[in-house]
Symmetry: C2
Subunit: 161 residues, 2 copies
């Protein structure tokens, strides 16, 4: 993925790829900005990060406003925030965050749906979670929901107050 | 502000205005979705909530990509999330959130800039904060930054796992 540089606050920029990956590995949910006919929409979704493929996977219901938006325009801009809390008396909020761009696709192939769900559950759940094996095995489970994937094309990380 | 109803998960909807106001009162930052020529962008900003005018105030630098986007299209969709943490073994994340729409305007009038900054600092800081009085008094301070306001036109609240 290409690193995206914003120039107005270079002192806050995270330039180390490992720092950016850490934020994506530690985060549990992403906030996603979409456009349809120049109208904005925002959704928050739990995700799993496929480190090797620089791709985030999400699951959702088969219908909904976000799918209508994606049907019209697959380009999204998303953020994952590590909230370290407001700093009293400094008018500042301590955080680390990434902002990234890419195309959000619906995964149709059952094999890739299973891969996405495996990434998602391994990302979110503890190593010994009982939920993982149950969900991952059942083919029927996958017919009732959508798996979305967001391949990161550009990313920008920053930290600050 | 008009309440916006999403129909696919009515059981998760927060219908009580006081619950929606509480989330806005307790939140410290909003994530904001913008569009320019159907391209999405996302920013995270600390805010103050002007309860009486159903308006959020933000402060930012005089230049930046978000101002370029707002120059092209003032309609935004934003969210404030109360993150209650991931629920292990349930593949669920406990949260309360609001999603709202409105026009984001740059405040030019010095009197309203001071009002916005007062709302912002009283929202973010403790009652006895020393920072408040210093910042609020200096006219010069206001010439170096922008105050943005987002009047809420529609809002939707939800809670869930």
């Amino acid at each position: 993925m290409k690193r995206y540089h914003l120039h107005n606050r270079p002192n806050r920029e995270l330039t180390d790829k490992s720092e950016i990956d850490r934020i994506l590995n530690e985060g549990k949910f992403a906030v996603i900005s979409m456009c349809r006919e120049n109208e904005p929409y925002i959704v928050t979704l739990s995700y799993g990060f496929d480190f090797e493929n620089e791709t985030l996977y999400f699951h959702c219901a088969k219908k909904g406003l976000k799918l209508d938006f994606l049907d019209s325009n697959k380009t999204v801009c998303a953020t994952v925030i590590k909230d370290k809390g407001y700093v009293t008396d400094e008018c500042g909020h301590e955080y680390e965050s990434v902002v990234f761009w890419g195309n959000m696709q619906i995964v149709n192939d059952l094999h890739e749906k299973k891969h996405g769900m495996s990434i998602l559950l391994h990302h979110l759940e503890d190593k010994n979670s009982v939920i993982k094996e149950k969900k991952l095995k059942s083919d029927e489970y996958y017919s009732k929901m959508e798996i979305l994937k967001l391949k990161i094309s550009q990313i920008h990380g920053k930290a600050g107050r």
